[in-house]
């Protein structure tokens, strides 16, 4: 099972690309752990996650081919 993760703003710099495929993440907490292990800097950032374009409040089960968006706030104007 795999999920697609898309990144926005400063998170693209941190990860080095705007999209990643992650294998075997059963739920959001699991996915976050896998991402933080790979990109330890991620812990210092503020961002919201959306699963299939729906912003989520808590942990959530993930299914094959789900798309997870990670959106930080933007400061500029």
């Amino acid at each position: 099972m795999k999920v697609n993760v898309i990144f926005f703003g400063v998170l693209v710099d941190l990860v080095g690309q705007s999209m990643l495929t992650i294998q075997d993440a059963d739920n959001i907490d699991d996915l976050k752990m896998k991402l933080v292990t790979r990109y330890p800097g991620l812990e210092g950032y503020t961002y919201r996650m959306a699963v299939n374009q729906q912003m989520i409040e808590d942990n959530k089960r993930l299914f094959d081919n789900d798309t997870i968006a990670m959106m930080p706030p933007f400061a500029g104007g």
């Binding site: 210092g44 503020t46 374009q53 912003m55 959106m71 706030p73 933007f74 500029g76 104007g77």
Partner: protein
């Protein structure tokens, strides 16, 4: 509110749209909109709202026009450099549409003036470039029950949403705190002066904001509440995410708004940042005049201001490790600086991981603050 002969001509192309028509034009003429920030986003918002015929537009911005604004802030030209943006904007907009009322406020929106000012307007546009003001706008709009249209940008991407909207059934929709209950650490969310921005991006995002204001006023189309869009200028992708109202986050705003005048939004937004030593431009100026021994380190790689402090050495932020031995180790004061004091603060933070850093200082506000003092001294 009838339209005069000139207005009928001026607005002809939109009057013939069935979605606007005479009723829509009259609604626009009756409307009061406050645009907070007259920079990258504020300029296109103002031009579009002025052209569409919003009856009264307020513009608040404490800044003056600088040369680095001109590539994207199209209300201004070289002849306005040094003028207050709010005043310069009005001079241009008056000529664009003399049938509307324009009010300029050349001051910073603060917890002191926000309630009084925002309560005079129906729709608020957040076109600011910093988090303290964004949270302040959110909290006052929640407190006063006003909708506000968020716009924010980062290099090639922008976000837009209509927040704190109340629909026809009286349902209340998400606020900024429902998306981001807590502010980002400042070093993880740089603004355009540090991170850069492509000139057309605020044009796109600002016009999307103006479009939402028009829809809110005229009651047409689908207003962008309950969702946020992210536009990417490089890929042309627009991603739309649904967001939910979070009453706990909304209550946080209400609590702040009622005790507002004592709430410090600056420190609220800086509270997640690691503390470092900082020196103000005034204090550094005195120390240099007194010929105190200070090592000055310029961390810029692409300077905005074509000046540097006397006897500085250069250590670009991305080249710290190769140059680390150039930093004085005799325990004397070392001051790092850049254009606005953000990248130099980053460098001081990076060096804080090691020990013996009590002598390392960041120049607060950077060369921008330094140049203000020099200008004041010249004026005296």
């Amino acid at each position: 509110m009838d339209l005069n002969k000139q207005e009928n001509q001026y607005y002809h192309r939109q009057l013939i749209l069935p979605q606007i028509g005479k009723a829509g034009q009259q609604a626009l003429k009756k409307a009061n909109v406050l645009v907070i920030g007259a920079g990258g986003l504020g300029c296109p918002v103002l031009m579009s709202l002025c052209g569409v015929g919003v009856g009264r537009i307020g513009i608040i911005d404490p800044d003056k026009v600088t040369v680095s604004n001109l590539h994207r802030q199209m209300l201004y030209g070289f002849s306005q450099i040094g003028e207050f943006k709010a005043e310069a904007a009005i001079n241009r907009l008056k000529d664009l549409n003399p049938n509307i009322v324009l009010n300029a406020y050349s001051e910073r929106l603060s917890s002191e003036n926000a309630i009084e000012l925002i309560s005079q307007y129906d729709v608020i546009v957040d076109a600011t470039d910093n988090f303290p003001t964004r949270y302040l706008i959110n909290d006052v709009c929640v407190y006063l029950d006003k909708p506000f249209v968020l716009g924010s940008i980062d290099r090639f991407q922008g976000q837009v949403s209509v927040l704190n909207f109340r629909d026809d059934q009286g349902n209340k929709w998400p606020t900024y705190r429902c998306i981001f209950p807590k502010p980002s650490a400042p070093e993880t969310a740089p603004d355009c002066s540090q991170n850069g921005v492509i000139g057309v991006l605020p044009g796109v995002i600002g016009n999307l904001q103006a479009n939402e204001v028009i829809k809110v006023i005229c009651g047409i189309g689908e207003v962008l509440y309950g969702k946020v869009i992210i536009f990417d200028a490089l890929s042309n992708q627009i991603v739309q995410l649904s967001i939910q109202r979070n009453e706990k986050a909304v209550q946080q705003a209400l609590k702040n708004a009622s005790n507002f005048k004592s709430f410090d939004y600056e420190s609220f937004c800086n509270s997640t940042q690691k503390k470092i030593n900082e020196i103000t431009a005034i204090d550094l100026h005195k120390k240099i005049q007194n010929k105190e021994k200070i090592q000055l380190i310029d961390v810029r790689s692409t300077p905005e201001f074509q000046v540097e402090l006397p006897n500085s050495i250069h250590i670009p932020l991305n080249d710290l490790q190769a140059n680390i031995n150039k930093i004085s180790r005799d325990g004397g004061m070392v001051v790092f600086y850049c254009d606005h004091g953000v990248n130099s603060a980053k460098m001081v933070r990076m060096l804080h991981h090691g020990s013996k850093s009590k002598n390392l200082f960041n120049l607060k506000g950077g060369l921008a603050a330094w140049l203000k003092i020099e200008n004041n001294n010249h004026e005296k």
